[in-house]
């Protein structure tokens, strides 16, 4: 086994565990892992990460679903909105300065995070 394959397996195992533990995609781990550790370009890292999320989110979704921990109806409604939102987001990204948007959003996430901690 070559080094890249071992790194890929380790990265997948860690990202998948985080994805299953917290109900997220795992891109927050896979993308920096690919860029910093496997020297993949940012653009290819996004695409590759997305492909890995198909597998990890499916496995975690089934595990949560079997335990009755998925609100399928709510998921359907969110999905309807997010399809349209993704379209709008690409439009916004071309017209808005990313930096203030990212900082504002980081603050919102931090507030939500602290709120959930206490």
């Amino acid at each position: 086994m070559n080094a890249a394959l071992i790194k890929a397996i380790a990265l997948g195992a860690v990202a998948g565990t985080v994805a299953g533990l917290f109900g997220v995609g795992g891109g927050v781990i896979v993308v920096p892992g690919l860029v910093l550790w496997l020297f993949v370009s940012q653009r290819e890292a996004s695409g590759t990460s997305t492909a890995t999320i198909v597998a990890s989110s499916a496995a975690a979704m089934v595990a949560f679903g079997v335990g009755g921990n998925v609100d399928w109806q709510a998921a359907g409604f969110i999905l309807i909105g997010s399809v349209v939102g993704a379209w709008g987001g690409a439009w916004i990204a071309e017209r808005v300065n990313e930096r203030p948007l990212a900082i504002t959003f980081a603050v919102v996430l931090a507030v939500a995070g602290i709120r959930m901690m206490i």
């Binding site: 109900g23 335990g67 609100d71």
Partner: protein, 133 residues
């Protein structure tokens, strides 16, 4: 009815943020469902995954068409990811909802700090505006 509209609005907002900041939806869905909609932590996470899965399929098709998927890496990461995801989910399902929520809060706050830090440095390159140092 009101909740249906709010859920669609959450999707709209999360989809737009995800597309414009390159951020995954789960980081938005889980806290929004818990804090704003009062979902139990476990159900928020399971529901988040049920939205992420189809979204990721569509996004992968788009990325693959543009040649941005390195399958020789994606396949081993994905396979290892399946085992990791099952393990992570089993741990989550055994944890008390309050404890899991607090752990998620720590995870989210750390991500927010990292995100703010990177955004802060983003424009401190000389080409845009000189920062007082």
């Amino acid at each position: 009815m009101l909740e249906i509209i709010a859920l669609i609005a959450l999707g709209l907002f999360a989809g737009a943020i995800a597309a414009s900041l390159g951020l995954g939806g789960g980081i938005i869905f889980v806290p929004a469902l818990v804090v704003l909609f009062g979902f139990d932590q476990h159900i928020a996470q399971g529901t988040s995954l049920a939205v992420i899965f189809p979204t990721a399929i569509v996004a992968t098709v788009a990325h693959a068409r543009m040649g941005n998927v390195r399958w020789r890496l994606a396949i081993p990461i994905g396979i290892a990811g399946i085992f990791g995801a099952v393990l992570g989910a089993q741990i989550a399902l055994r944890l008390d909802a309050d404890l899991l929520r607090r752990m998620f809060g720590v995870f989210l706050t750390l991500l927010a700090v990292r995100m703010a830090w990177r955004a802060w440095r983003m424009n401190s390159q000389p080409e845009t505006e000189p920062e007082p140092s």
